[in-house]
Symmetry: D2
Subunit: 317 residues, 4 copies
């Protein structure tokens, strides 16, 4: 992506810096108090659970942001090791062991609040120098300590538009979120975790699907607007998820710059981006039942100094 | 560990093979139906949540099974990369990215049902040859698809004994589980997820704690007995966790062999081992409140062909 | 590549099995005795040295066999680590440290004799089962212990044809080797290390070059023929190198199968394949001087159980 | 190691900065001209060759600097993969492939000139900021492009002292180098590559050997002295090697600081440190024959931005 001037569009945007004290490294997930956990639980009806994480390390490949590596999986020990004498059994028992070489943002994951910064300051004003060699501030283990539990709401934008997938680069507006919720008959409430379905990553796995890497890589999604940032801020949205790699338009229709919401939402408000969700089964169930709210439970791994973490979020309904 | 004879103690032990069909790869987690999810939720009172995963990749080190590697964390990009010209900013925004090299059993994790086998057969009779190059059967992604949600019960064996930690190699019996539950005033119910606190791994982090690697490595824990295996089977226990690396006595007092429950419980009954939990904060809260049951939520990552997965289980109470 | 029948073309091919004893794991490099080292040295005139290894881990990418990963390079410590307090200096001195995640065949490299086998037997008849979990037999450390030193001869096939690069899939015959040597005025002698220049990989680095990955991946090169195998055998060729990834036609014009010389030369005769050489500078110097022989020195790293090793061969003339 | 004051001992030490121009990143290896290559070759008598690299990735472990990781080796494909259907054969042929996760200084290796710096300047005055994210200047690929070929001289200090190994922390002085050479009957000439044998790392591999990690880690070796630095400078020593991990006393008897020669020799003169050589067999041959000079040939791999490279140096005599 070329170097862009400006980003004046960030001047005056809503901020959560200082809201939870000058030493806060958790961000908007602070909104998810015990009360919010209970509110999320109240959305559960029959206990049906959907695991929203993607498979990791498929031999045929996984979807990744262009240029990023995928996950490599290696066996440290398997049945073969015993046959060649490289492993010795404990009596009759034998076992297999493995290791991965994995980019922390290489599958369904959350971004740590310190993942993105500008003007050398990350969320809550911490100095970007603290990222050298690993994140000292706003690292993902802080998210892992807290967990991300609350009331989730699926907004199936794809079904709302009557399509299998939004087109490359398609924009989702705040108005469309509201219209989709209304059409679905679900309330968007304070401190909800909105989960948007575009259908985009499902294409990757579909033999007959579109090639998401064809031409310029352009994901559909929300994008910067004063109105949207205000809405997130006023609604005290702690986190949001989508089934795209970056959770927003790759190049913003509004600003002409790449993924500006990572600046306006993650860096300025400390909102957690839960990216690359697998939403097809959840969407099917919501559509059939007419229920779109659920208990959203995500537990990032506590990677010390981590800029993000793979996560397998659960939607319990 | 030296090669041992026998393991006749496994003859005639309870088995869940075939219980969920000849193609089942999930194991005892099949017991955790939607109804069990609701039962787990009913244990929640105020929404207080504990994240039971250990920190991963601490510069000072993490506890690992002797011989196994720890997790290495590397920055792919940080502020320094921009300063040396190796990364170019998107307008004003900059970001950090990272990668890990991680053994899948190198931190708080679950074992896949196919992790251990004997007589060339893993859980549900699948051939151990299917482990070559990765687990084709009984791999951890199956656990990740389902999730592990149910009613968890903390059995704080350490507090019950009035100690900070059980001694190296100390044995926990089924009777002690019952006594501990009784003393704590909590019922052990059908399909519960028992979580045992020994205090063992807390020592690793305590400067004044015992050196868990001193001498022969001998963890405290449950161990093989016909009575214990019968209890797990009859009580339909889907999973259990502890704050030790292997969830059982390193060398069994009963059989004289290493970690026999991995054969009798994991391989024969398909019970999930959730190892290396961080239980000190949860135990504190349970002790203060007198409440020991909670909603146990664990979402393993869907590593294709994986023998296990790091996981950050949540205890919601 | 699809599964192919046959390979009857290997029946009756020359073999070096047993030539150096039934326990030999070194292969045709056995031919490179001290006398051969001296013969190689006699080819040196002014001491000019060319390092034939490719750069490893270029940010813009390295050429690799389709499907294989490239090398990832990570800093363990750099100046930034000191600035963020993650590293502490020794007095005034500071340092940088790094690590790679590297496929052993991912750059200029040699194949170990045990890299390829058929009918479950590798070079000298060792059982392919010994490869499980790592090569017990015919591994690359044996090559590293011995070193590969001898008289090398550049056969600049590209210049001989008057082209920058041979075309995709072009075939080089034994006759052409002889003609090229004759045209260059250099003798091909017993136990020489022939080094063939096709110009192929130079295209990868050339912005205006052909795209070596376009369409089906088809490298130019030698290929199977009874005559060629006989020539290698009778001439006691210990090793040969090219500037392609596989050292031979990707799909053989002769057999219709993929890279058959790995079977006929590596597996049956134990000939070392030194692949992915950077030959442009050496070729320039040979062309200008009319001298095509040199002291060829390659020292594979002693990776225990390794199937190959990166190597930076030197051509000293 | 604790933070040390001073290093005034570096004030006024000899320097090679600017000797080969202000843009030089190669260092003292510039001394190894074609003429030096020929001089090295003149030391060859019968072509006997010793490969001085250590084995890499032994299951039982490799010697590493305390705190540094060892090399991990994983199979990407082996016979087992075919048996479980994860790999498909090309006709009858099958193969094995692998990957390593390797610290570049984790085995026999050379340090790049930019590996160490002080006062924010590395060899030839380049800014230490250029190390962020990888070495832009004075990286190891520059060494790999040139190669390190010259006349090597073994100084078997251990035999000279009549011991199997020098003691932990023992100091080798310049006088001892001269005495050893004299006793061995070998001349130390201009631009030689001295190779010092202490016997130290041989202990690691010897079951009955001393434990090199016992107590404080203290390697024997040369150390800082004005006289020694002057000698290296005046003699135009391009590189030197030993059979220890750091090529010098761990904590200097002279300065009281850790490994000061990395500052005085590597940083100020650009001298290459070839560390962790395996010298026992070479020493045996030199002792028996009375010949101590040889053709020293080392070809570091061209790791882009690398701070060092594994290498398997050859001693040809």
């Amino acid at each position: 992506m070329s170097d862009q001037q400006g980003m004046d569009f960030l001047d005056g945007v809503p901020s959560n810096w200082g809201r939870w004290g000058e030493d806060d490294e958790l961000g908007a997930v602070n909104y998810l108090t015990n009360e919010q956990v209970l509110r999320g639980i109240r959305a559960v009806e029959d206990g049906e659970t959907f695991a929203l994480g993607l498979p990791i390390g498929r031999p045929e490949g996984d979807p990744v942001w262009p240029g990023r590596d995928g996950t490599n999986h290696y066996m440290d020990r398997d049945k073969g090791h015993y046959e060649s004498g490289k492993a010795t059994a404990h009596g009759r028992a034998q076992g297999a062991d493995d290791v991965v070489h994995m980019p922390l943002h290489g599958t369904t994951h959350v971004d740590a609040p310190g993942h993105i910064w500008y003007d050398d300051e990350m969320y809550n004003g911490f100095d970007a120098n603290t990222t050298k060699g690993g994140l000292d501030r706003c690292s993902v283990d802080t998210l892992g300590d807290h967990g991300i539990l609350g009331r989730g709401v699926l907004l199936d934008i794809a079904r709302h538009r009557g399509v299998e997938t939004l087109e490359p680069g398609a924009r989702i507006t705040l108005d469309e979120l509201r219209e989709c919720a209304a059409a679905q008959g679900v309330e968007l409430e304070q401190r909800d975790v909105p989960v948007l379905r575009t259908g985009w990553l499902e294409q990757y796995y579909d033999e007959d699907g579109i090639d998401i890497y064809e031409g310029k890589f352009r994901e559909p999604g929300l994008t910067h607007s004063e109105e949207l940032l205000e809405w997130f801020h006023e609604r005290e949205i702690p986190a949001f998820g989508t089934d795209t790699i970056a959770n927003e338009q790759t190049i913003s229709d509004e600003t002409g710059t790449p993924i500006p919401l990572h600046a306006g939402l993650l860096r300025d408000q400390g909102v957690v981006f839960n990216e690359m969700l697998d939403l097809s089964a959840l969407a099917e169930a919501c559509d059939e039942s007419g229920r779109y709210a659920f208990f959203y439970v995500a537990a990032p791994l506590k990677f010390v100094h981590g800029t993000g973490s793979p996560v397998n979020p659960l939607a319990v309904r």
